[in-house]
Protein backbone atom coordinates (compact mmCIF):
# COMPACT_ATOMS: atom_id res chain seq x y z
CA UNK A 1 0.00 0.00 0.00
CA UNK A 2 1.41 3.40 -1.00
CA UNK A 3 1.71 6.26 1.49
CA UNK A 4 -0.06 9.45 0.45
CA UNK A 5 1.50 11.88 2.95
CA UNK A 6 4.93 13.45 2.15
CA UNK A 7 6.50 11.82 5.22
CA UNK A 8 5.06 8.46 4.19
CA UNK A 9 6.46 8.85 0.67
CA UNK A 10 9.86 9.71 2.09
CA UNK A 11 9.64 6.55 4.20
CA UNK A 12 8.77 4.51 1.09
CA UNK A 13 11.65 6.03 -0.80
CA UNK A 14 14.06 5.25 2.00
CA UNK A 15 12.73 1.69 2.13
CA UNK A 16 13.30 1.26 -1.63
CA UNK A 17 16.82 2.69 -1.31
CA UNK A 18 17.56 0.31 1.57
CA UNK A 19 16.33 -2.65 -0.47
CA UNK A 20 18.45 -1.63 -3.48
CA UNK A 21 21.50 -1.10 -1.31
CA UNK A 22 21.00 -4.42 0.48
CA UNK A 23 20.54 -6.20 -2.82
CA UNK A 24 23.73 -4.63 -4.18
CA UNK A 25 25.76 -5.68 -1.17
CA UNK A 26 24.28 -9.21 -1.37
CA UNK A 27 25.37 -9.39 -4.98
CA UNK A 28 28.90 -8.30 -4.06
CA UNK A 29 29.03 -10.85 -1.25
CA UNK A 30 27.85 -13.53 -3.66
CA UNK A 31 30.56 -12.61 -6.18
CA UNK A 32 33.17 -12.76 -3.44
CA UNK A 33 32.01 -16.20 -2.33
CA UNK A 34 32.03 -17.43 -5.94
CA UNK A 35 35.49 -16.03 -6.45
CA UNK A 36 36.79 -17.80 -3.35
CA UNK A 37 35.12 -21.04 -4.39
CA UNK A 38 36.73 -20.82 -7.83
CA UNK A 39 40.14 -20.27 -6.26
CA UNK A 40 39.65 -23.17 -3.89
CA UNK A 41 38.76 -25.44 -6.80
CA UNK A 42 41.85 -24.39 -8.73
CA UNK A 43 44.02 -24.90 -5.65
CA UNK A 44 42.50 -28.32 -4.96
CA UNK A 45 43.07 -29.39 -8.56
CA UNK A 46 46.68 -28.22 -8.42
CA UNK A 47 47.27 -30.05 -5.15
CA UNK A 48 45.80 -33.26 -6.57
CA UNK A 49 48.03 -32.95 -9.63
CA UNK A 50 51.02 -32.27 -7.36
CA UNK A 51 50.25 -35.35 -5.31
CA UNK A 52 50.10 -37.57 -8.40
CA UNK A 53 53.24 -36.00 -9.85
CA UNK A 54 55.30 -36.46 -6.69
CA UNK A 55 53.99 -39.97 -6.17
CA UNK A 56 55.16 -40.85 -9.69
CA UNK A 57 58.54 -39.24 -9.12
CA UNK A 58 59.01 -41.09 -5.84
CA UNK A 59 57.95 -44.36 -7.43
CA UNK A 60 60.33 -43.93 -10.35
CA UNK A 61 63.17 -43.20 -7.92
CA UNK A 62 62.38 -46.24 -5.78
CA UNK A 63 62.46 -48.45 -8.87
CA UNK A 64 65.77 -46.89 -9.87
CA UNK A 65 67.24 -47.59 -6.42
CA UNK A 66 66.09 -51.19 -6.60
CA UNK A 67 67.52 -51.57 -10.15
CA UNK A 68 70.88 -50.21 -8.93
CA UNK A 69 70.89 -52.70 -6.07
CA UNK A 70 70.80 -49.99 -3.40
CA UNK A 71 67.64 -51.42 -1.84
CA UNK A 72 66.88 -55.11 -1.64
CA UNK A 73 63.10 -55.03 -1.98
CA UNK A 74 61.39 -53.78 -5.13
CA UNK A 75 58.66 -51.16 -4.64
CA UNK A 76 55.26 -52.63 -3.96
CA UNK A 77 53.73 -50.52 -6.74
CA UNK A 78 54.38 -50.89 -10.44
CA UNK A 79 54.41 -47.54 -12.25
CA UNK A 80 51.84 -46.98 -14.96
CA UNK A 81 54.63 -45.98 -17.33
CA UNK A 82 58.40 -46.27 -17.19
CA UNK A 83 59.09 -42.84 -18.61
CA UNK A 84 60.36 -40.13 -16.31
CA UNK A 85 57.60 -37.65 -15.44
CA UNK A 86 57.64 -34.88 -18.02
CA UNK A 87 58.13 -31.23 -17.20
CA UNK A 88 54.85 -29.38 -17.09
CA UNK A 89 53.86 -26.98 -19.83
CA UNK A 90 54.07 -23.20 -19.56
CA UNK A 91 50.36 -22.62 -19.04
CA UNK A 92 50.23 -25.02 -16.14
CA UNK A 93 53.29 -23.47 -14.53
CA UNK A 94 51.79 -20.00 -14.93
CA UNK A 95 48.57 -21.21 -13.31
CA UNK A 96 50.60 -22.55 -10.41
CA UNK A 97 52.53 -19.33 -10.07
CA UNK A 98 49.29 -17.34 -10.04
CA UNK A 99 47.77 -19.60 -7.38
CA UNK A 100 50.97 -19.44 -5.29
CA UNK A 101 50.90 -15.65 -5.60
CA UNK A 102 47.34 -15.54 -4.25
CA UNK A 103 48.36 -17.77 -1.34
CA UNK A 104 51.35 -15.53 -0.72
CA UNK A 105 49.13 -12.46 -0.75
CA UNK A 106 46.77 -14.01 1.79
CA UNK A 107 49.68 -14.94 4.05
CA UNK A 108 51.44 -11.57 3.89
CA UNK A 109 48.75 -8.92 3.58
CA UNK A 110 48.15 -8.41 7.31
CA UNK A 111 51.82 -7.89 8.13
CA UNK A 112 53.16 -4.37 7.53
CA UNK A 113 56.66 -5.38 6.43
CA UNK A 114 55.31 -7.67 3.72
CA UNK A 115 52.31 -5.67 2.53
CA UNK A 116 54.17 -4.45 -0.54
CA UNK A 117 54.83 -8.08 -1.41
CA UNK A 118 51.15 -8.91 -0.89
CA UNK A 119 50.20 -6.16 -3.32
CA UNK A 120 52.80 -7.22 -5.86
CA UNK A 121 51.78 -10.89 -5.63
CA UNK A 122 48.14 -9.91 -6.08
CA UNK A 123 48.93 -7.78 -9.13
CA UNK A 124 51.03 -10.64 -10.54
CA UNK A 125 48.16 -13.10 -10.15
CA UNK A 126 45.85 -10.57 -11.79
CA UNK A 127 48.18 -10.37 -14.81
CA UNK A 128 48.12 -14.15 -15.34
CA UNK A 129 46.29 -13.64 -18.63
CA UNK A 130 48.11 -10.41 -19.49
CA UNK A 131 50.73 -9.68 -22.11
CA UNK A 132 54.13 -11.40 -22.14
CA UNK A 133 56.26 -8.46 -21.07
CA UNK A 134 54.11 -7.43 -18.13
CA UNK A 135 53.58 -10.96 -16.92
CA UNK A 136 57.30 -11.67 -17.04
CA UNK A 137 58.04 -8.42 -15.23
CA UNK A 138 55.61 -9.07 -12.39
CA UNK A 139 56.56 -12.73 -11.88
CA UNK A 140 60.23 -11.83 -11.83
CA UNK A 141 59.65 -8.89 -9.47
CA UNK A 142 57.65 -11.10 -7.07
CA UNK A 143 60.43 -13.70 -6.86
CA UNK A 144 63.07 -11.01 -6.36
CA UNK A 145 61.11 -9.12 -3.71
CA UNK A 146 60.76 -12.38 -1.76
CA UNK A 147 64.54 -12.86 -2.06
CA UNK A 148 65.01 -9.37 -0.71
CA UNK A 149 62.54 -9.64 2.20
CA UNK A 150 63.21 -13.17 3.36
CA UNK A 151 66.47 -12.57 5.28
CA UNK A 152 64.88 -9.84 7.39
CA UNK A 153 61.86 -11.92 8.45
CA UNK A 154 62.13 -14.00 11.59
CA UNK A 155 60.30 -17.32 11.80
CA UNK A 156 59.61 -17.02 15.51
CA UNK A 157 55.93 -17.93 15.72
CA UNK A 158 53.54 -20.19 13.81
CA UNK A 159 52.07 -17.32 11.83
CA UNK A 160 55.51 -16.13 10.73
CA UNK A 161 56.48 -19.66 9.74
CA UNK A 162 53.35 -20.01 7.62
CA UNK A 163 54.04 -16.63 6.05
CA UNK A 164 57.61 -17.57 5.16
CA UNK A 165 56.48 -20.93 3.87
CA UNK A 166 53.91 -19.31 1.55
CA UNK A 167 56.54 -16.85 0.36
CA UNK A 168 59.02 -19.63 -0.45
CA UNK A 169 56.42 -21.68 -2.29
CA UNK A 170 55.49 -18.58 -4.26
CA UNK A 171 59.11 -17.90 -5.15
CA UNK A 172 59.63 -21.48 -6.33
CA UNK A 173 56.48 -21.37 -8.45
CA UNK A 174 57.48 -18.01 -9.92
CA UNK A 175 60.97 -19.23 -10.76
CA UNK A 176 59.62 -22.35 -12.43
CA UNK A 177 57.23 -20.19 -14.47
CA UNK A 178 60.06 -17.83 -15.44
CA UNK A 179 62.22 -20.71 -16.62
CA UNK A 180 59.31 -22.03 -18.69
CA UNK A 181 58.60 -18.56 -20.12
CA UNK A 182 62.24 -18.10 -21.09
CA UNK A 183 62.53 -21.53 -22.67
Amino acid sequence: MRSESPSGQRGDLRFVQDVISESRSDRERRHEVLRRARRSRVRARNLRQDAVYFRDVALAQRWRLWSAGVVAEPPSLIPASWSTPQARDVEELLDRAATACLDCRDATVEFGATRALAALADVTAGHRLGSGHELHFFISATARLIDRLEPSLAADDPEAILRLSAMRRCREACRAALVALSG
Partner: protein, 107 residues
Protein backbone atom coordinates in the same frame (compact mmCIF):
# COMPACT_ATOMS: atom_id res chain seq x y z
CA UNK B 1 70.67 -0.12 -21.29
CA UNK B 2 66.86 0.09 -21.32
CA UNK B 3 65.26 2.41 -23.88
CA UNK B 4 63.22 5.44 -22.78
CA UNK B 5 60.01 3.57 -23.49
CA UNK B 6 61.13 0.59 -21.42
CA UNK B 7 62.04 2.89 -18.54
CA UNK B 8 58.59 4.48 -18.54
CA UNK B 9 56.84 1.14 -18.87
CA UNK B 10 58.70 -0.19 -15.84
CA UNK B 11 57.79 2.88 -13.82
CA UNK B 12 54.15 2.55 -14.83
CA UNK B 13 54.13 -1.08 -13.68
CA UNK B 14 55.62 -0.12 -10.30
CA UNK B 15 52.99 2.62 -10.02
CA UNK B 16 50.32 -0.03 -10.54
CA UNK B 17 51.76 -2.06 -7.65
CA UNK B 18 51.94 1.02 -5.41
CA UNK B 19 48.31 1.85 -6.16
CA UNK B 20 47.45 -1.60 -4.92
CA UNK B 21 49.65 -1.28 -1.82
CA UNK B 22 47.71 1.83 -0.84
CA UNK B 23 44.40 0.05 -1.43
CA UNK B 24 45.49 -2.82 0.81
CA UNK B 25 46.86 -0.47 3.48
CA UNK B 26 43.51 1.31 3.62
CA UNK B 27 45.14 4.51 4.90
CA UNK B 28 43.03 6.79 2.73
CA UNK B 29 44.68 10.20 2.52
CA UNK B 30 45.84 10.36 6.13
CA UNK B 31 49.20 10.78 7.81
CA UNK B 32 49.49 7.00 8.12
CA UNK B 33 52.79 5.66 6.77
CA UNK B 34 52.68 3.54 3.65
CA UNK B 35 55.59 1.40 2.47
CA UNK B 36 55.83 1.69 -1.32
CA UNK B 37 58.19 0.41 -3.96
CA UNK B 38 60.51 2.86 -5.69
CA UNK B 39 58.84 3.83 -8.97
CA UNK B 40 62.07 4.15 -10.92
CA UNK B 41 62.75 2.56 -14.29
CA UNK B 42 65.13 -0.15 -13.05
CA UNK B 43 63.29 -3.46 -13.11
CA UNK B 44 65.65 -4.88 -10.46
CA UNK B 45 65.23 -2.00 -7.99
CA UNK B 46 62.40 -3.10 -5.64
CA UNK B 47 63.67 -0.86 -2.81
CA UNK B 48 60.94 0.21 -0.40
CA UNK B 49 60.16 3.83 0.42
CA UNK B 50 58.09 4.93 3.40
CA UNK B 51 55.85 7.96 2.85
CA UNK B 52 52.56 9.10 4.35
CA UNK B 53 49.33 8.27 2.56
CA UNK B 54 48.74 12.00 2.19
CA UNK B 55 52.03 12.48 0.33
CA UNK B 56 51.24 9.57 -1.94
CA UNK B 57 47.75 10.93 -2.67
CA UNK B 58 49.26 14.33 -3.50
CA UNK B 59 51.70 12.72 -5.95
CA UNK B 60 48.96 10.64 -7.58
CA UNK B 61 46.95 13.76 -8.30
CA UNK B 62 49.35 14.26 -11.19
CA UNK B 63 49.39 11.54 -13.82
CA UNK B 64 52.99 12.30 -14.70
CA UNK B 65 54.45 12.35 -11.15
CA UNK B 66 56.31 9.40 -9.67
CA UNK B 67 58.13 8.72 -6.36
CA UNK B 68 61.71 7.47 -6.63
CA UNK B 69 64.76 7.09 -4.42
CA UNK B 70 67.49 9.73 -4.56
CA UNK B 71 69.92 8.62 -7.25
CA UNK B 72 67.24 6.72 -9.19
CA UNK B 73 66.25 9.58 -11.50
CA UNK B 74 66.41 9.00 -15.27
CA UNK B 75 67.10 12.55 -16.57
CA UNK B 76 66.33 11.54 -20.15
CA UNK B 77 62.64 11.07 -19.34
CA UNK B 78 61.97 13.00 -16.13
CA UNK B 79 62.85 16.00 -13.96
CA UNK B 80 62.79 16.39 -10.19
CA UNK B 81 59.91 18.54 -8.92
CA UNK B 82 60.23 17.87 -5.18
CA UNK B 83 63.09 16.71 -2.96
CA UNK B 84 63.07 15.00 0.43
CA UNK B 85 65.92 13.17 2.15
CA UNK B 86 64.37 9.74 1.62
CA UNK B 87 62.65 10.23 -1.73
CA UNK B 88 62.20 12.47 -4.74
CA UNK B 89 59.10 13.29 -6.75
CA UNK B 90 59.82 13.34 -10.47
CA UNK B 91 57.72 14.48 -13.41
CA UNK B 92 57.78 12.59 -16.68
CA UNK B 93 58.39 14.93 -19.60
CA UNK B 94 57.81 14.74 -23.35
CA UNK B 95 56.65 11.40 -24.78
CA UNK B 96 57.30 9.76 -21.38
CA UNK B 97 54.74 12.12 -19.87
CA UNK B 98 52.22 11.24 -22.58
CA UNK B 99 52.72 7.54 -21.94
CA UNK B 100 52.30 8.05 -18.18
CA UNK B 101 49.07 9.99 -18.78
CA UNK B 102 47.84 7.31 -21.17
CA UNK B 103 48.26 4.66 -18.46
CA UNK B 104 47.04 6.75 -15.55
CA UNK B 105 45.33 4.57 -12.91
CA UNK B 106 41.58 4.97 -12.71
CA UNK B 107 39.96 6.84 -9.83
Amino acid sequence: MPSRKELVRTEILFREVNEHIVELTDAGQTGEPVILLCECGRPDCLVQIEVTAAVYAAVREHATYFIVLPGHVAPEIERVVHREDRYLVVEKVGSAGELAREHEPEG
